[in-house]
């Protein structure tokens, strides 16, 4: 294989593996804030127990997220040096801002979140939990700013020619609020909330099935389902808004998502099917006019098809189509699960619905898969561009790196990541089997003051 293919596989594989974890950190971060907040507000120690247990799970996901995240920062330089020179002026700032505003906040207060239970008072601990959660969200903000700029570049001009050409910032706020940034950020964050919520739901459902830790499981499920439902509903709004943005800013990408070859008004939306690339048509079930309506909110708007895009500028159609539709399908399934779960919880009969609990046990795979497919759709759909209409993917490669060297690192990363994943699953399973500690129902150290806190009295 050539160095381009190997570098693309390596970047794709390392970022896909990395992206298993940040959504868990962001989503669990929200769950921890809600649980600890409820504990401080109500003084109900079940919420103290849930906070403690989910913090231990959070620590596990966070550790692998950090360890695999450094790889990403290095890979821009190691494998994509020409790209780094081209975008450094714009892209580098977002990355540096992520370090200063997000990573320090996250890792600093993580110390208090994990190790400070007996060292600081309840309010300081809650503050730290909020800061870790905020840091995780800031991190999403800056990395999505950087990635969105590659999708819809703005606020820059090109200086120099040929090998020396590069993008320079003309307006920082236009770079930050580039046309797709707000849509993509909100969509990504909702996806992360769903991931965290469904991890909590999956593990809690397992306890209900095994009839263990039922009070703990019910408390966790309540918070989990509320977040899951809210995020799933918001996801429809952000998803719709994102797709309309794609239609406007990256028509070739939308055509790839929908496998639409002929430019047309009254374009149909494919509900289920696949792309027959040879005959340039869709095989499957289509909803007439719906795509046009979704883009323009009226049926007569014209949606650009792939045939009006130069062949050299078209994304891989089948892959874009598959990832995009996979993501959308899972999204609606998650909405249904969250809605039904809330209903059963409200009726108080969730523990009796064993078939549903079994679905819930595996439900965390839903948002994880949807996150992966969504990002694959976004990045595959951007091809053949690395920076939209400015830099093609092969042009961004490092000039001095040989294929055998990339193959070496690819094999190394593959082995290590398989090992890491195995250890992660092993330890996660171990934590699940151990379950929440009973002594966490009695807060200790400086936290052992729920009554005083409840009545706002100083001890």
């Amino acid at each position: 294989m050539d160095v381009l293919t190997l570098s693309r596989i390596q970047f794709g594989a390392t970022i896909a593996f990395h992206y298993i974890y940040p959504p868990l950190s962001i989503g669990l971060g929200i769950m921890l804030v809600l649980m600890e907040g409820l504990w401080l507000k109500t003084g109900n120690t079940i919420y103290h127990q849930t906070s403690r247990f989910w913090t231990r799970v959070f620590a596990l996901t966070f550790a692998i997220g950090v360890a695999t995240g450094i790889v990403m920062e290095f890979e821009f330089g190691t494998n994509w040096a020409t790209y780094s020179r081209f975008v450094g002026d714009v892209f580098g700032s977002a990355l540096a801002a992520e370090g200063i505003f997000a990573f320090f906040l996250e890792s600093g207060f993580l110390a208090v979140l994990l190790f400070g239970w007996d060292r600081v008072g309840p309010r300081m601990h809650f503050f730290s939990t909020c800061m870790v959660c905020l840091g995780a969200h800031f991190s999403a903000v800056w990395i999505v700013v950087a990635n969105s700029w590659m999708q819809t570049p703005a606020g820059y001009h090109i200086v120099g020619e040929g090998m020396k050409a590069r993008a320079e910032v003309t307006d920082f706020w236009q770079v930050v609020f580039n046309p797709s940034m707000v849509d993509r950020l909100s969509h990504t964050i909702c996806g992360a909330w769903q991931t965290g919520a469904f991890l909590v739901i999956s593990i809690s459902a397992w306890y209900l099935l095994k009839k263990k830790h039922t009070a703990f499981a019910h408390a966790s499920l309540r918070i989990g389902f509320i977040v899951a439902l809210v995020a799933a509903l918001l996801q429809i709004i952000t998803g719709d808004s994102s797709a309309r943005g794609v239609a406007k800013n990256q028509p070739a990408k939308l055509a790839g998502f929908e496998g639409l070859y002929n430019t047309t008004s009254n374009a149909p939306l494919v509900l289920l099917g696949y792309v027959d690339e040879k005959n340039q048509k869709i095989v499957g079930i289509e909803a007439p006019d719906l795509l046009t309506w979704l883009v323009y909110r009226e049926p007569n708007g014209v949606v650009t098809g792939l045939n009006d895009i130069p062949p050299a500028d078209r994304p891989p159609v089948s892959a874009s189509f598959l990832f995009f539709h996979g993501m959308v399908g899972i999204g609606f399934a998650l909405l249904a699960i969250a809605g039904l779960g809330c209903f059963y919880l409200w009726r108080g009969i969730i523990a009796d619905k064993r078939w549903f609990l079994w679905i819930l046990v595996f439900s965390v795979l839903g948002p994880e898969l949807a996150n992966q497919m969504g990002w694959f759709a976004a990045e595959v759909g951007r091809q053949p561009w690395l920076v939209w209409h400015e830099l093609r993917t092969p042009e961004g490669l490092s000039a001095v790196v040989q294929a055998n060297v990339v193959l070496t690192s690819l094999i190394l990363f593959t082995l290590i990541y398989f090992l890491l994943f195995a250890v992660f699953i092993y330890l996660l399973n171990d934590k699940i089997q151990h379950g929440p500690h009973e002594d966490d129902l009695i807060p200790s150290g400086k936290l052992a003051l729920p009554d005083e806190l409840l009545h706002h009295k100083k001890p």
Binding site: F74, R85, F91, G92, F172, S398
Partner: protein, 340 residues
């Protein structure tokens, strides 16, 4: 030398990497010393002495890398693609180290803990060595072609001088870590660490003297600025005094001051390094005219200005809460149920 944005960013990137060396330096040093004891209790104590802070310390490297990317993209691109295999090894070392800290005490089996202990220790030593070798290569000079691309090989990076810098870095971090360990522990482990710290100090002094001689003899350009501006010799003098003060304070039992002296040693070493490479960021050997400097490798003045605003907002806040967190976790380390 006038104070323009490029110079300010040269200094700021230097400050971030110096912060990294001072903070993660003791983490890596503790890691390097980890296998010196085979008692599980003592290994846990050492691990937990850095437990709450190692992750934040590593962020200095990530942010330093980000700042280098943003302020000097050509340097970032040339160095990272040129040092490809070395950086992949560094990543592997850092990954193993990070997850070993998190995983080791999660299971009681002896083979489990022994495996992660080795991962933690080897990862720490290898990280320190590779960081040192990278600095050594920047000091020695690396082949760069007319397009600003690295023109050497991986094995070419392992020349004697860079390796000497690498070993010196390991010695420096081991000394730094041992002194930190002395501050954070008590009882039997404290006494052991005190003995190790004295040995590490001797090891470091031998390395430092050898490195200084080697630099003066074989890498004369790394002393050129100080030679031309004799008043800068004060930095070298400060470095020497800082090193000499470490065993002195240590002997008197002022462990905290010994640690500060060790920090000062790192800071003055980095200052000497920066003063002598300035304004180059990658010195090209054998064609010095291909060197990447803070001017031909920098981002636009507009970006450097924006980044300066970001740094002015972010850095003081970061320093403020970093100090708070070190304050919260002050005192001797104890094992409790949230420990690693």
């Amino acid at each position: 030398m006038n104070l323009d944005l490029n110079t300010i960013w040269f200094v700021l990137v230097g400050v971030l990497f110096t912060g990294y060396a001072m903070l993660d330096g003791f983490d890596l040093g503790i890691g390097a010393l980890h296998l010196f004891t085979n008692k599980d209790e003592e290994r846990r104590l050492m691990l937990n002495s850095i437990g709450p802070v190692w992750d934040g310390n590593e962020v200095w490297l990530v942010t330093g890398g980000g700042a280098l990317f943003a302020a000097f993209p050509n340097v970032y691109a040339t160095a990272f693609s040129g040092f490809y295999l070395a950086l992949i090894l560094l990543l592997v070392a850092l990954i193993f180290r990070a997850v070993a800290i998190e995983f080791r005490s999660k299971q009681p089996m002896r083979w489990w803990r022994q495996t992660w202990d080795i991962g933690f220790s080897v990862g720490s030593i290898l990280s320190a060595l590779l960081i040192g070798v990278a600095l050594g290569n920047i000091a020695w000079g690396v082949p760069v072609d007319a397009n600003g691309e690295f023109a050497g090989t991986f094995l070419g990076l392992l020349a004697p001088y860079p390796l000497l810098v690498g070993v010196t870095t390991v010695a420096l971090f081991m000394m730094h870590g041992a002194i930190y360990g002395v501050m954070k522990t008590e009882g039997e482990l404290h006494d052991k660490l005190r003995v190790w710290a004295m040995r590490c100090i001797i090891f470091f002094v031998i390395c430092a003297v050898t490195l200084t001689m080697a630099t003066l003899l074989y890498v004369p350009h790394m002393a050129a600025r100080v030679r031309e501006n004799p008043w800068l010799f004060s930095v070298a003098l400060a470095n020497m005094l800082a090193i000499a003060n470490i065993p002195r304070e240590f002997h008197h039992g002022n462990d905290g001051k010994a640690f500060l002296s060790s920090c000062a040693t790192i800071a003055t070493l980095m200052a000497l390094f920066a003063l002598n490479i300035f304004p180059n960021m990658i010195y090209s050997r054998p064609d010095p005219e291909h060197s990447l400097t803070i001017y031909n490798a920098a981002s636009s003045p507009k970006t450097l200005g924006i980044m300066l605003v970001i740094a002015c907002i972010g850095v003081p806040v970061v320093i403020a809460y970093t100090v708070c967190i070190y304050w919260i976790f002050r005192g001797k380390v104890k094992i409790d149920r949230v420990s690693y």
